[in-house]
Assembly symmetry: C2
């Protein structure tokens, strides 16, 4: 099977182990989607993935509106890992949050971490909703893993327990302070192997929170330009710029390999 | 009035000329928003802009649910222009298109241009809808101008009439071809004073369209990494990377000024 026909297969995330010959019962949403929306018949091929076992060729054995059985044939793609890049954010309202989580998954983050900040407007996180958005985006974007979901935790606790080897890139949308922040392009490349991008609430961080961030040893303040971006735009913009400069988007140019050896 | 209190004012786009002492009647949507949602009273201050005359201090003189009068006091902000950067795209379905137009406006494009491509799924453009999304985003993001809207035109006609001094950055989401495309970071900086970013339809361009793009003298193919991005994600990612590297996000570093003089 060539790459192109493989890429045109419907991709489906399943929650069970994948191995040769396994018979997998899809849930009712997936069954309905395949049989009623896509009108797949017995014998139709799918690409199955579960975030850990790679991508498997699946063939529909029994179709039904409520449940559908797929036979797992053999592994087509080895499991891959996305960049070690976290997105930490103060939750925003429904549609834009769905959107942000989908886009972050498309852009290859390894962890999505909602945190509690003084001016945050959303008090509760529906993890199953976050996960559904990630699955939809992973199916769409051809990644084989799902981001991890961090526990909804106050900013201060996140900072107090921050790993010593991970840079925390803070996107500063406060106009008066952003003027002093530098561009993400000037981040020290040596710091960017493990990174997290932090997007504040739309009202901005509180004075206390800003101070906590300023004194944190792993914090790097960066600016996202002269306009005030909404949280979801800021998240997508920051992730795109990071990935295109330091992430897995392109092979490392020669001169950086040289740098590493020195 | 200091910068911070000015920034906290409600910003409102109006469609009429702005000058000292003008009395402006807001439309019913704006009047309802100000009086019923924000509960603004007589004497409340606003920042008014119309895309050409700068930002004016306005003061509410008469409140009403259906119509509201604002007195234009004096100019607070000089008119600014966004970067000379176009977004050209094959329209996508409703929510994600609204989203893409809002985000492109936030990210500072000067023109939004929907085009017709063989595999495009949307056959009609509602210009007033595009414009409403731009106004919402401009009010939000503190820009004082609105992007121009290009006429819904077939790709071939766009290419045949392409300006000789504008680079056309084509975001190639076809996996097999993207491998050969270079990163946007490697664009020749001299080419990027006037630029357009072209996002194809989700099904990809047709073979003929791809050929037309390949042979076009102003076309630069770039890749947006190893994952397949949806059109709206690709647009936001490409605009962010472009703006952070070549656009108006940061002051030009010294070494580039040197380059220009040579």
């Amino acid at each position: 099977m060539d790459v192109d026909s493989r890429l045109n297969m419907t991709r489906l995330f399943v929650d069970c182990a994948l191995m040769d010959h396994a018979l997998i019962e899809l849930n009712s949403g997936q069954s309905h989607y395949l049989s009623s929306v896509l009108r797949k018949k017995n014998g139709a091929e799918l690409l199955l993935f579960n975030g850990r076992d790679g991508g498997f060729l699946g063939v529909i054995e029994t179709t039904g509106k409520r449940s559908l059985l797929v036979r797992c044939k053999h592994k087509l793609l080895s499991q891959t890992r996305s960049s070690d890049l976290w997105l930490i954010f103060v939750p925003i309202k429904r549609t834009r949050m769905d959107f942000m989580v989908q886009k972050a998954t498309e852009l290859g983050v390894s962890k999505i971490w909602p945190i509690i900040s003084k001016f945050g407007q959303v008090k509760q996180i529906r993890e199953h909703k976050l996960r559904a958005n990630m699955i939809e985006a992973a199916e769409q974007t051809e990644r084989l893993d799902l981001p991890e979901i961090g526990k909804f935790t106050p900013l201060q606790i996140v900072l107090d327990n921050w790993p010593k080897d991970r840079v925390l890139v803070v996107c500063n949308e406060t106009k008066s302070e952003a003027g002093n922040a530098h561009s993400m392009l000037h981040l020290n490349r040596k710091l960017t192997k493990k990174a997290a991008i932090l997007i504040g609430p739309e009202g901005g961080f509180s004075a206390l929170e800003r101070e906590q961030l300023q004194v944190h040893p792993m914090c790097e303040n960066i600016s996202l330009g002269p306009r005030i971006l909404r949280s979801d735009t800021a998240a997508i913009a920051a992730l795109s710029i990071f990935q295109s400069n330091f992430g897995d988007w392109y092979k490392t140019p020669e001169f950086l390999n040289d740098e590493k050896q020195n």
